[in-house]
């Protein structure tokens, strides 16, 4: 037997502080390249948007780029890119992020820009209507005009979940988007974009004392507003299997996605970790259980994937969340058969355990993924910001490879045993195009 590879760890330093207005700050110096990443995350996401306003959290993210207290429309983009940087924002189930990656000499500028919109975006009807149009084009590109659009991330949650926060379409309906108003946007900002509801993280080429002074200078006088009470989005687990299907008019091949609830990532990380590992044991690479069985042996699927959460971010999601397995099938392939085979393979793990070396190699590969994701300053800043926001532990970024490696075969086997058909929600895509 091959000796298991020793799992390495990073040692990025982490400084945490909280400003007088409640803004939490994470600073993580790393002088290995003269670039810096600045991330601001707000504790509001798709799950928090009001009923009748599907897609509002994402639409509002767009409005945060439309000018702010001291900045005209277009100024934000120009100031970031004109400093040699890149920017973006994205809306998730449990948070919304805004970020810049820049040469190290532009740190203060990025802090100024983020502080300015934390004080308040310029919300005008003209900008709102313009961005509703832009968001509709985004939805057309990513969902409506392509095969498998929104599969499974928008299509599976309503099969799995019953309550609006967990089940609804986070991109939003055109009706809801069209009826959004400036007043609603102002209210949304007032409620959720509070200094006490945000985390700022800066990673890269910085000196902690200098960066701290710059953060104080630019964010110190952002008006204090407390974080709103975060409601529970809890739902009971399924007690009977759920199946749904739809026809995708642009899809040439059948596909299926199946989901099972997993333990609360926040309340019990130890219970949750084996599921993150299990998803990789099942689907990472040609030596994984489901690739070997479904693709290489049975030829009943042509690609498979497995991950945690509808948006595939195991370290940035709260309860309730799911383990998802998905497969694309050859023409005429049987979804029933694929689901039965998945059950068989889960059973095989639950009763037969893991093969020698199987767990260790999966964990080694997961370590590489985690380390690789932390190399870009901006990914590091983002992950630290969310870990601070959801767990108060940005330094967890350094610990994840070894935490993953500490999961035992017994735990993975026990996790596999819980993925029973009666706890499963699955969704079949029926091809609307002849392959």
């Amino acid at each position: 037997m091959v000796r298991p590879t020793k799992i390495p760890a990073t040692k990025y330093p982490v400084e945490r502080l909280t400003l007088g207005n409640g803004l939490r700050v994470v600073l993580s110096p790393d002088r290995s390249a003269s670039v810096v990443g600045v991330a601001v995350v707000y504790d509001v996401g798709i799950r928090s948007e009001p009923e009748g306003r599907t897609g509002f959290a994402h639409l509002f993210e767009h409005l945060m780029f439309q000018g702010s207290e001291n900045l005209e429309k277009l100024a934000h983009f120009r100031h970031v890119q004109g400093a040699g940087g890149t920017f973006n924002g994205s809306t998730h189930l449990d948070y919304t992020d805004y970020f810049e990656a820049l040469p190290g000499n532009a740190l203060e500028r990025a802090l100024f820009l983020e502080a300015d919109r934390m004080r308040g975006p310029r919300l005008t009807d003209e900008n709102l209507r313009n961005q509703v149009d832009v968001v509709k084009e985004e939805i057309r590109v990513n969902v409506l005009n392509r095969p498998y659009g929104g599969f499974p991330w928008l299509k599976l949650p309503p099969v799995m979940f019953d309550t609006f926060p967990n089940a609804h379409d986070g991109y939003g309906s055109f009706v809801d988007l069209d009826s959004a108003t400036v007043d609603e946007a102002a209210e949304f900002f007032q409620r959720y974009y509070a200094s006490g509801n945000a985390v700022l993280a800066v990673a890269g080429d910085l000196d902690v004392a200098e960066a701290q002074a710059l953060v104080e200078r630019h964010f110190g006088d952002v008006p204090e507003r407390p974080a709103p009470q975060r409601p529970s989005f809890a739902e009971p687990d399924l007690t009977a299997e759920r199946r749904a299907q739809y026809t995708d008019p642009l899809a040439p091949l059948p596909a299926v996605a199946a989901a099972w609830r997993v333990p609360d990532p926040g309340a019990d990380l130890t219970a949750y970790l084996p599921y993150v590992v299990l998803a990789e044991v099942l689907t990472d690479g040609d030596a994984s259980r489901l690739v070997e069985r479904l693709i290489l042996r049975d030829r009943s699927a042509t690609s498979v994937g497995g991950y945690i959460g509808a948006m595939g971010e195991p370290w940035e999601v709260r309860d309730p969340t799911v383990l998802i397995l998905q497969a694309f099938l050859p023409p005429g392939g049987s979804v029933d058969k694929v689901l039965r085979t998945v059950d068989e393979e889960l059973d095989r793990i639950a009763t037969g355990g893991l093969a020698p070396g199987e767990l260790a190699r999966t964990q080694a590969r997961m370590a590489t993924h985690l380390l690789r994701e932390s190399d870009p300053v901006i990914s590091r800043a983002l992950r630290m910001a969310v870990l601070e926001q959801q767990r108060g532990r940005p330094e967890l970024l350094n610990e994840l490879p070894r935490l993953v490696a500490s999961v035992t075969a017994e735990q993975v086997v026990a996790a596999a045993a819980t993925l029973r058909p009666e706890r499963r929600a699955s969704l079949e895509v029926i091809p609307g195009v002849q392959a």
């Binding site: 290995s32 190290g104 000499n105 532009a106 042509t302 590489t368």
Partner: protein, 435 residues
């Protein structure tokens, strides 16, 4: 009003420590040190010009399907054990093998790679499986608007040149036999003329030593892989490809490009940025931020060994396809007819320089850049030379480049969309020819 903080002093582009050696078998090894994370990145670029398309593509999918001593899953599991994975991809210029692993796994990864390079067997069953998988992926691609318009654009740009067709027909793939893959491998997967890039947390000399030791049994003189120079773009009517029911039109415009070594390349890059090469460009500010026609227009210079082209892409709502083309031609025409503003140029210049810094701030970025440049006989020091040219380009240089290369009169335009809905809109502006 609060004042935008000035940028700090420019930090000079710092190139990492590197070493290079051409081995006895003709393989050039470039090793670069970046120690931020305990990983190693690997890129192997093998010249593949003029290789038969369907076979080359299937070869890239089956290269890791087995050797005389290892199966597909042995290879994948062996790599995983050291946190690694390898993957191959193909384009008309090269076969590119990419991977990464824990740095402690470099020797093992190279050993497995050597096994594959010298002894890939293309087993009949595995080839049959991957052939079906590839055919299915091609079927899905044929429903993707981005793929369909790319196919039409390449055909329109390159006519009878080998670059005109870069995706095989499913029928061609179905006809490929394992023996043909073995023959292609023996003929083209050779070290002479190939480049191996290793980036990671180890001294460059050690990386080269490891590569020399592992790959000395790989032999073979280079084959002639020279692709003839691309023909100049021939202007003509707009080509309209019908996609009935499409809710967006895919607009593509090809213009002449310049290779990286060309003295005007930096000026053209800056002109392209001002036009549509980044978010703060005239095109994006016009058709997205002002008019809301599109989510993400983008233009960029695409380099291939036999020639370069500038390609502008936007997915626009069906009902504004004509107006979007009108604005696009207006912005190209404006840039080709009037000099850019001084501040506009400075902004683009700083963006281009910052992108160089960000691009080499990660192991993966360094590896990808170094392997790409190597395909054109360039090394990372090209970045410093290019930075100097970007810094030196004047408004006149940029105007001259724009007049010459961005003139709408030189554009080749292809639109994929619902022809019944958009043909009239387009025909009002230019001559239209159905594909």
């Amino acid at each position: 009003m609060r004042e935008l903080p000035a940028l700090g002093p420019n930090r000079k582009l710092k190139l990492p420590k590197q070493a290079e050696q051409t081995l006895d078998n003709g393989l050039t090894v470039i090793a670069i040190r970046r120690s931020a994370v305990p990983l190693v990145e690997l890129r192997l670029r093998v010249p593949f010009g003029r290789a038969p398309l369907a076979r080359a593509m299937l070869l890239s999918q089956t290269l890791f399907s087995g050797t005389s001593t290892m199966s597909t899953t042995d290879i994948a599991a062996g790599l995983q054990t050291v946190g690694g994975a390898l993957d191959a991809g193909h384009d008309p210029d090269r076969l590119l093998i990419s991977g990464n692993a824990l740095v402690t796994g470099l020797d093992r990864m190279l050993e497995i790679l050597a096994g594959v390079l010298t002894d890939a067997t293309y087993p009949t069953d595995e080839v049959a499986t991957e052939r079906e998988v590839l055919v299915d992926h091609l079927q899905v691609a044929q429903q993707q608007p981005a793929h369909l318009v790319r196919v039409a654009l390449l055909k329109r740009m390159y006519g009878r040149h080998p670059y005109a067709v870069q995706t095989p027909e499913p029928g061609q793939v179905k006809g490929v036999r394992p023996g043909q893959l073995r023959a292609l491998h023996a003929d083209r997967v050779r070290p002479d003329g190939a480049t191996l890039v290793i980036v990671g947390d180890l001294p460059p000399e050690r990386a080269i030593e490891a590569a020399a030791k592992a790959l000395d049994g790989w032999t073979g003189l280079a084959r002639d892989a020279v692709v003839p120079p691309v023909p100049p773009l021939e202007t003509g009517p707009l080509v309209l490809v019908d996609r009935p029911g499409s809710v967006q039109s895919s607009l593509r415009i090809a213009l002449p490009g310049l290779p990286r070594q060309h003295p005007d390349h930096a000026a053209l890059q800056l002109a392209n940025l001002v036009f549509g090469g980044y978010f703060s460009s005239r095109w994006t500010e016009n058709i997205r931020e002002d008019k809301g026609y599109t989510y993400g227009p983008h233009s960029g210079i695409e380099h291939s060994v036999a020639g370069s082209a500038l390609i502008a892409s936007a997915e626009v709502a069906t009902e504004v396809t004509g107006p979007a083309l009108l604005e696009t031609r207006y912005e190209l025409g404006r840039l080709a007819s009037l000099p850019v503003e001084a501040e506009e140029l400075e902004q683009a210049r700083r963006y281009a320089l910052g992108s160089l810094q960000l691009g080499i701030s990660t192991q993966a970025g360094l590896a990808t850049h170094a392997a790409e440049y190597a395909g054109y006989g360039l090394r990372l020091d090209y970045l410093a030379e290019h930075a100097a040219k970007l810094a030196a380009a004047t408004r006149e240089d940029v105007f001259t480049a724009a007049q010459q290369y961005l003139a709408p009169a030189r554009a080749v335009t292809v639109v994929l969309g619902d022809a019944a809905a958009v043909e009239g809109q387009l025909a009002a502006l230019t001559e239209v020819q159905r594909a």
